[in-house]
Symmetry: C2
Subunit: 368 residues, 2 copies
DNA sequence: CTGTTAGCGCATTCAT
DNA sequence: ATGAATGCGCTAACAG
């Protein structure tokens, strides 16, 4: 007959004939207690089915052992792995995490940050905040500890985990040049995106480093979805600028571009090579399998929480920054590089590509 | 100069020259307060940047306004939409939700349920619990309120939201029969899965209802991933049992089957028709686009939380049950039904298929 | 309409 | 090695 959890530490103390203090001590392994009383108390705890009330505990310790994870939208394929990495890391340290979707709405971003503040979470990981700096900063300053993902905000006293997006597109460009391509276009996603701007910067730099001109007409902003990519790709392909390579903001844009190529009769990669970004599951399964710039999303989440926990343990204004370097995964949507041009850091999976991401390749209501 | 949140209700009270009670009242809109004091207090709250401490509040009200969402793995494409539905619904009611991944490990399932118990969440939504009933029940009984997704557990006093999986495969079978197929096999996923057994039941029933024999050799268990589906499909196709239709446990299994068909030179749908289950984003994007049994995952999450909130508001042992009916989405991996056979409830999207799920078709680090 | 008295369940002083 | 007092920040009863 297990009791409901209205069992308190006082009940345990009374039942064991000790003070609440002693119970608290065995609970937290603090102070020295005689082995006998420890056993006695443990038995009573067991028998009564006692579970400490972490609400009460938090009130006095001023730590909730809870974190907040703020993402735009967990159904966006970029974020579930981040969440997994974050939760795994948090759980291993005894923390739980509140998942908050902002749905890319400023007001909801404000709302969840306020909620997390009231919940007195020990720290917050904020991914892809949309709010302008001047609104974001005051909200962040009210949090106990903050780690920002893929955004830098002046004066936020926050740690930062970011992907070296510029390096990613640089790799993509070098890969395409190495495959003999010379007329590259970029489908650059939303201009407002911080990561998007970085990717454009990498694109420009890599072209210039190769002594090639950058044609501004060949950098096209587009919505970061399938349709956006398809539409932008059509524009480029029909502009008769003889483009032979496309660098895309993300994998969905790239897959949209693939669709446009098929429509217009452009062969991939013979006529046009296509590189995506993110390496979502989809990328390895489309036809042809998509070459893409992979970033370990799990690592982003795991690193962000690790940094958060570090900063919780040792608060300090030192603005830590962790940069995660992406790697190019060459699949069938781009040509093999010519042996002359060195293609350092490039991975070409042996099999069709699915093998490259075994852990994520699953679905089902009840994977049991 | 906004103060840090060590501002308490007492500070506000002192500064405003009223009692903490009055402050509490304006905070919660309880009792009647003169408009003047309300304004006075509100001003001070504003000026001091006071935010109520929900930890302290929860200790006395015995409500945390927090929920737990337990899923096997948020990177499994089946769950992000459930999480979105759950979080949206919770947030609209002022609740926050802890996301817990069990990684399909029994011990972690135990761990997170215990953690949620200590956090004193007001309720828990548990998806696809793996734990056997006798271990699960005691853990669930310790929770304040429980809603189970896709699992029925005797004696858990829990609400249930479940998909009518049997009906789903029944629809799939009827669809294939309507398209003239007669030798159907089922790649049935993990035998331990509750939903999997339901799907097999639907498969059997639909065949029998059509007066066809059920060949036990044509029901193959398999891991619920791409590889599992590919492997099982190869076995069936090579068994020279002249199978002309495959009903699959989920979309990944089906896509694996698609790959196996291509390898072995079987044309889809001419030689073999394939039906998946779940309608994840992937399904509409593979070649050929996959016919599948769609279930609104968002609704599952939203309904589960709504039911949870209802039960929190009006506790009662009445075991509520909500059954969500799936619908068949016909794409190119199955033949058109013969006009003779009525194919009620079937949807055939006008375009390639992507148009059918616009909201989910996106990805990107910074969708901004 | 407002203030006072309690106490939620626990950990942190101090004592012993 | 253990116990007693105190308070974390807030709301629920009662008073007035």
């Amino acid at each position: 007959m297990i009791a409901r959890s209205n069992v308190t530490i006082a009940d345990v103390a009374r039942e064991a004939g000790v003070s609440t203090q002693t119970v608290s001590r065995v609970l937290n392994n603090k102070g020295e207690i005689s082995p006998e009383t420890r056993r006695l108390v443990s038995d009573v705890i067991q028998r009564l089915g006692y579970r400490p009330n972490s609400v009460a505990r938090s009130l006095v310790t001023r730590r909730t052992l809870s974190l907040g994870l703020v993402v735009p939208d967990i159904t966006n394929p970029f974020f579930p792995e981040i969440a997994r990495g974050a939760e795994d890391t948090a759980l291993a340290a005894g923390y739980s995490v509140f998942l908050c979707n902002t749905t890319e709405q400023a007001e909801r971003e404000v709302a969840v940050l306020r909620l997390l503040e009231e919940k007195r979470v020990d720290g917050v990981v904020v991914c892809s905040a949309r709010l302008p700096d001047d609104q974001l900063v005051p909200l962040l300053r009210r949090q106990r500890t903050v780690v920002l993902v893929n955004r830098i905000v002046a004066g936020a006293a926050a740690g930062v985990v970011r992907v070296d997006d510029a390096d990613g597109t640089r790799q993509a460009v070098r890969h395409l040049l190495g495959g003999g391509r010379r007329r590259l276009a970029m489908l650059s996603g939303p201009p407002a995106s911080w990561g998007g701007r970085e990717r454009v910067r990498g694109f420009r730099e890599a072209l210039q480093a190769a002594g090639l001109a950058v044609d501004p007409e060949l950098i096209l902003a587009c919505p970061p979805y399938l349709d956006g990519g398809a539409r932008a790709a059509r524009r480029v392909l029909l502009s008769r600028r003889a483009v032979d390579g496309l660098v895309c903001y993300n994998d969905l844009v790239a897959i949209g571009a693939l669709q446009a190529c098929r429509e217009l009769g452009a062969r991939v990669p013979e006529d046009v090579a296509v590189v995506g970004c993110d390496d979502i599951l989809l990328a390895s399964l489309v036809t042809p399998p998509l070459s893409t710039i992979r970033v370990s999303k799990y690592d982003i989440g795991a690193s962000a929480v690790r940094m958060l926990l570090d900063r919780i343990a040792a608060p300090g204004p030192e603005a830590a920054e962790l940069v995660i370097r992406p790697t190019l995964v060459a699949r069938a949507s781009t040509p093999e590089p010519h042996p002359a041009a060195g293609a350092a850091g490039t991975t070409r999976p042996a099999a069709g590509g699915a093998a490259a991401r075994p852990s994520a390749a699953r679905a089902g209501c009840e994977p049991g």
